[in-house]
């Protein structure tokens, strides 16, 4: 297709018309290419167009940078603070000889911080459909589903059991990590689409699901995981023993429990770190996180671990709780040492308790934060042995007509970005089933472009660290103040420079290549290869190269985009200008109604 940009003159006549050739592809091979070659976007459950928003921020188009996030993940200001950052683990800049990954999450926050105060975000809206959907739970999955269904033209009512919307974002994450005004602003920007919010309503108790199903065309359960897992060891019922979830809900509701001097927090997820840091702010003097495995096996971000330690929390590894000790009040925990073993199919490392290595750590409070699961609900439809409503993971359908399930209630505890992605997918599926139409589709957008203005020296810019409140004591005197201050404009720009912009695809036109090998000589990595053959998969996508050093066997000189760091040197030296650059982006397209299948 052709995209036209008109530049009108003062009197309104057309002075200039720029025509760009843009192709949209839904070929599986192109989706495969995106997954492999733009690893950050492929790793994001919501497929956020990361290189594009980083480039926009670099160009000081802050509002557009925010919008590019908002299109995919609906809560950029929130995620810019608390995302689990699967993208950074895949960032090409973090490959062994290339340094450290780009601080993608901090740049996301910068987009949120720097966008214009009066920024107008234009939602792409379909006409009303005359359908009503009830969503139970206003956490990230419920909010994302409410947003997408509203834009499709569905009338949405959001039921929330707590007094305020946000779910775990509001009640599970402390304010010093996620300021409430940021959360509220982004929730409001979803509600303004016409979503009716009903708080303090516990569906199943205050309102029967059968009544909802009678009043609405469909219902989506996005109630999260609010049943804490227990250690199932003696002493767990002693006063002074809390679950991580109960502790955090009390803290974030403004009714924190009394915290004594010594606190042990058992578990390994983000909640553990939130509990430990909150306990310090509530006056604890000696707080330790007790891990069954090691720090290396933690899934929380490295920054979070470091910041927690910086506040004075100790992290103790290779210990498994055996019993909680106390006489009318918790006094300590008996642990046994563990030996780490192989990585199991679920990605976690196996551990074996070491007999005879028992030891006791004294404690005045024990917080057990080993996870949550969905609550059993008295809803129609098939339920598992624990009373949890069962649904299909792909279609979100339950056995009850028009009743769907998504988010953590469907999958078990996950991350905020995963919950958002599932909420959006469920919304699409419900809309499709209610109308028989598809409203959006993913496509790969290809547009020829020029090499970037990136300099090779930018590859050596050190990772810009997030500034935080200093001195540390200030964190405890004003316990709700956000610890991370946010990048300055200069820092954000420096960090943006570090991104290789992997959405640029470099390709040699073999019909024009003269095999001079200049490109190979200037390549900073082994990214340009003399190739005898290419390997492809069943989709027709290139998966590898059969290299050769013998000229008589060379059939092509090819750029391996999985190794390319998009420095552009090859383009600069090519004497016959046979290397093209294409910007390839995984985008979401609104499907016109008349063409909807």
């Amino acid at each position: 297709m052709q995209e036209k940009t008109h530049y009108p003159t003062k009197n309104g006549t057309r002075a200039l018309e720029v025509i760009r050739e843009i192709t949209f592809s839904t070929d599986p091979a192109d989706f495969y290419y995106m997954d492999v070659n733009v690893p950050c976007q492929g790793a994001c459950p919501a497929y956020t167009n990361i290189p594009a928003y980083i480039r926009c921020l670099f160009e000081e188009r802050y509002s557009r940078s925010y919008e590019l996030n908002r299109i995919a993940n609906v809560l950029p200001g929130v995620l810019g603070r608390i995302c689990s950052r699967p993208c950074e683990a895949k960032c090409r800049h973090g490959e062994p000889e290339l340094g450290q990954p780009v601080n993608i999450c901090h740049i996301k926050r910068a987009a949120s911080d720097f966008k214009e105060a009066g920024h107008i975000y234009m939602e792409q809206l379909f006409a009303p459909l005359g359908k009503k959907v009830a969503i139970i739970g206003s956490g990230p999955a419920g909010l994302a589903a409410a947003h997408d269904l509203s834009t499709i033209g569905v009338s949405v009512t959001l039921f929330e059991a707590f007094e305020e919307p946000g779910g775990m974002l509001r009640y599970g994450i402390p304010e010093f990590r996620l300021p409430r005004d940021i959360l509220k602003a982004e929730i409001d920007s979803i509600l303004r689409l016409g979503v009716t919010l009903k708080t303090g309503v516990r569906v199943g108790q205050d309102l029967a699901m059968e009544d909802i199903l009678a009043d609405y065309d469909a219902a989506l359960l996005a109630a999260g995981c609010y049943k804490p897992l227990k250690l199932e060891i003696p002493g767990e019922e002693l006063p002074g023993v809390y679950t991580g979830l109960d502790f955090m809900i009390q803290v974030t509701s403004g009714r924190p429990p009394h915290v004594d001097k010594r606190v042990l927090v058992i578990g390994a997820g983000f909640t553990v770190f939130d509990c430990a840091r909150s306990a310090l702010r509530l006056g604890a003097e000696d707080v330790s996180i007790c891990l069954r495995r090691t720090e290396e096996d933690l899934t929380v971000t490295e920054d979070e671990v470091f910041d927690t330690k910086r506040e004075g929390v100790k992290i103790k590894s290779l210990m498994l709780s055996r019993r909680i000790i106390g006489n009318g009040q918790v006094e300590g925990v008996e642990f046994v040492r563990t030996r780490p073993g192989e990585i199991m199919p679920n990605g976690k490392r196996s551990i074996t308790p070491i007999g005879g290595s028992e030891f006791i750590l004294p404690a005045d409070m024990v917080i057990v934060a080993t996870g949550q699961r969905p609550e059993p609900l008295d809803f129609p439809g098939e339920r598992d042995k624990d009373g949890v409503l069962v649904a299909e993971k792909e279609t979100f359908r339950t056995s009850e007509p028009n009743l769907y399930v998504t988010g953590d209630y469907l999958t078990g505890p996950s991350t905020v970005i995963e919950a958002i992605a599932r909420g959006r997918a469920a919304a699409e599926k419900i809309a499709e089933e209610l109308t028989g139409q598809k409203f959006r589709e993913k496509a790969v957008r290809l547009e020829e472009t020029k090499i970037t203005d990136r300099l090779r020296s930018w590859d050596f810019i050190p990772r810009q660290e997030m500034p935080f409140i200093s001195p540390i004591e200030k964190r405890f005197s004003t316990p709700n103040t956000e610890v991370e201050i946010g990048y300055s404009h200069e820092q954000a720009k420096e960090e943006c420079k570090r991104c290789y912009l992997c959405y640029l695809h470099y390709e040699i036109d073999m019909s024009r290549c003269i095999y001079c090998r200049y490109c190979i000589d200037v390549a900073p990595r082994d990214c340009i290869k003399m190739v005898r053959a290419v390997e492809t998969n069943e989709m027709g996508a290139i998966t590898g190269f059969v290299e050769t050093q013998q000229w008589r066997n060379v059939n092509a000189i090819m750029i391996d985009n999985t190794r390319c760091i998009r420095c552009g040197e090859c383009v600069r030296v090519c004497p016959v200008d046979c290397i093209s650059v294409t910007r390839v982006e995984l985008v979401e397209r609104m499907l016109p109604r008349e063409k909807a299948s």
């Binding site: 000889e97 910086r310 040492r337 005879g356 290595s357 028992e358 001195p471 540390i472």
Partner: protein, 338 residues
């Protein structure tokens, strides 16, 4: 048949001993020792005495460079390993060279540990692990009269002793975190404080060290609880952390050291760890343990090499000498020495 190539990462006492042992046991194999530092192998335990002039620099070194040439041990100094593929048996160096190995001993040693709450003041604290560190101490000691030592690790006591010899005013804050791998308790604290006080060191009580500020070119202000202490310089001695950051994605099991079994094997075939970086479960103290100190490092380097060469030698995790008397089961021999 492919020639065996044993690689040792780390040119400290453990690595050095491992190389020598391998050369003796497997004369036909290639032995390569890689270290990011450019200096030859030295005895870190002599650094405090070097700082105060009791030992000359040439006495620090274990063997002259010619020794390695004569033994057929290839030394690659000043070269930094940035990645290890344990399954593929490949090492990647900073300059992108890839080295294949048939056996590998990690003798990475450690770098001085600064607890995270003190990181903002890191630049104002002196550590003592390398000869370069020692030179900085020598330079600074010429300008100041008083030194505050924070910590309590092996080196800290030797430094305090050396500074007294130099006539400096020495004060000491004993920090429980510094005693790792020893399990800290009141008895250990009192023992250590008693030994220090007897020698003329002022032991300061401290619940929380809040910060260090530079007051002038030769004066620092240390905020301890609600007090402010003026000193010439501050030494930080919180033990070592293994230098294994570059291995975190490699699949190696790492806690505070590289976790190994009683034969010092890391879990990967033909890959061992020795010295300060090897962490082993110690059945006697029923806990994980890192054997610190020069003699232990040499011993572990030897054992790792023997096992690499086909032996089945168990690491002697509890030599009598490292344990204190009576019922305190911990490595506190350096206090006795002090």
């Amino acid at each position: 048949m492919t020639e065996e190539h044993f690689v040792i990462i780390g040119n400290g006492p453990a690595g050095n001993q491992a190389a020598v042992t391998l050369r003796e046991k497997v004369p036909e194999a290639r032995v390569t020792m890689i270290d990011k530092e450019s200096t030859g192998c030295y005895k870190p335990n002599l650094l405090p005495e070097y700082v105060v002039g009791k030992v000359s620099e040439d006495k620090l070194y274990i063997s002259p460079l010619d020794f390695y040439k004569a033994k057929g041990i290839k030394l690659r100094l000043g070269q930094k390993v940035i990645d290890v593929n344990f399954k593929g048996k490949e090492i990647t160096l900073d300059h992108k060279e890839v080295i294949r190995f048939s056996g590998l001993i990690l003798a990475l040693g450690g770098r001085p540990r600064i607890p995270e709450p003190l990181h903002p003041f890191e630049d104002l604290m002196f550590t003592l692990k390398t000869i370069a560190d020692a030179r900085r101490w020598i330079q600074e000691l010429g300008k100041v009269e008083s030194v505050l030592i924070i910590g309590g690790d092996l080196t800290s006591f030797a430094v305090a002793k050396a500074l007294l010899h130099l006539g400096k005013k020495v004060s000491f804050i004993l920090d429980e975190d510094a005693f790792w791998p020893v399990r800290y308790n009141k008895e250990i604290y009192e023992q250590a404080a008693h030994q220090l006080t007897q020698k003329g060191v002022k032991v300061l009580a401290c619940r929380k060290l809040k910060g260090v500020l530079r007051r002038s070119e030769h004066s620092l202000q240390v905020q301890v609880d609600d007090r402010k202490i003026e000193v010439g310089m501050v030494g930080a001695f919180f033990g070592l952390v293994p230098d294994v950051k570059f291995l975190t994605r490699s699949g190696l099991q790492i806690e505070r050291g590289v976790l190994v079994d009683e034969y010092l094997n890391t879990g990967f075939e033909g890959v061992y760890a020795a010295g300060d970086c090897a962490e082993i479960y110690h059945p006697e103290i029923r806990d994980y343990w890192v054997s610190i100190g020069y003699d232990n490092a040499v011993n572990l380097g030897r054992i790792a090499a023997l096992n690499m060469a086909g032996g089945k030698v168990q690491a002697d995790v509890e030599p009598e000498s490292i344990f204190f008397v009576k019922d305190i089961r911990a490595n506190i021999s350096w206090w006795m020495e002090f």
